[in-house]
Point group: C2
Chain length 116, copies 2
């Protein structure tokens, strides 16, 4: 099957550390490394008053994004990677880093039929 990339929609619930921008920066970098991807840039924004963080790591293989709502212990992440990277390897990194009680993952293949 030919497609452009694998896109994981990851919902992290009952989680901690979602208002800690340095921890989130470290965690996204750890995801990039676990997946065997290449980081091009990372840009995180911290919101007031809830402490939520929105940001994206742009990769040679696509991107990882996060939007966190620390007051609900919830974060929505996307891990989108093409090529030989292994996006699924980011999931246990996220679960551990945020001490998440629940992690839901939906996998979508983007650009089906694009190549070939």
């Amino acid at each position: 099957e030919c497609f452009a990339g694998t896109h994981l929609l990851i919902d992290v619930r009952e989680a901690e550390g979602l208002d800690d921008i340095k921890h989130i920066d470290r965690t996204l970098r750890a995801c990039v490394e676990a997946a065997g991807a290449t980081l091009l840039s990372i840009d995180l924004h911290h919101f007031t008053p809830n402490g939520g963080v929105s940001g994206v790591a742009i990769l040679a293989e696509s991107h990882i994004s996060i939007h966190s709502w620390p007051e609900y212990g919830y974060a929505a992440l996307d891990v989108f990677m093409c090529g030989d990277a292994e996006p699924q390897k980011a999931v246990p990194v996220l679960k551990k880093a945020f001490r998440a009680g629940m992690v839901e993952v939906a996998e979508i293949r983007r650009g089906k039929g694009m190549v070939g």
Copy 2:
């Protein structure tokens, strides 16, 4: 129904201008304006040799991402917005800007049950 945000997965096919980073920058800004969202930062990367562009606009309401494969006339976009923004309004902007023969949109509500 309570949820964190509306996430549109948009696949643009038979499209033009996908190797033009300035055009993509302008188009993402037009999407932000059409949706009534607030731009915090925008970061686009141009790849060689295919001319593809990867990048993200981070918004006060979440983000818009794009990954383009100009050699296939294909781009994968995500428009993720929470609050009062109207992400659906980005779809006709993208269709017109890239003269797309086909635009597929999947709508996912992220963080169901998070609030309330």
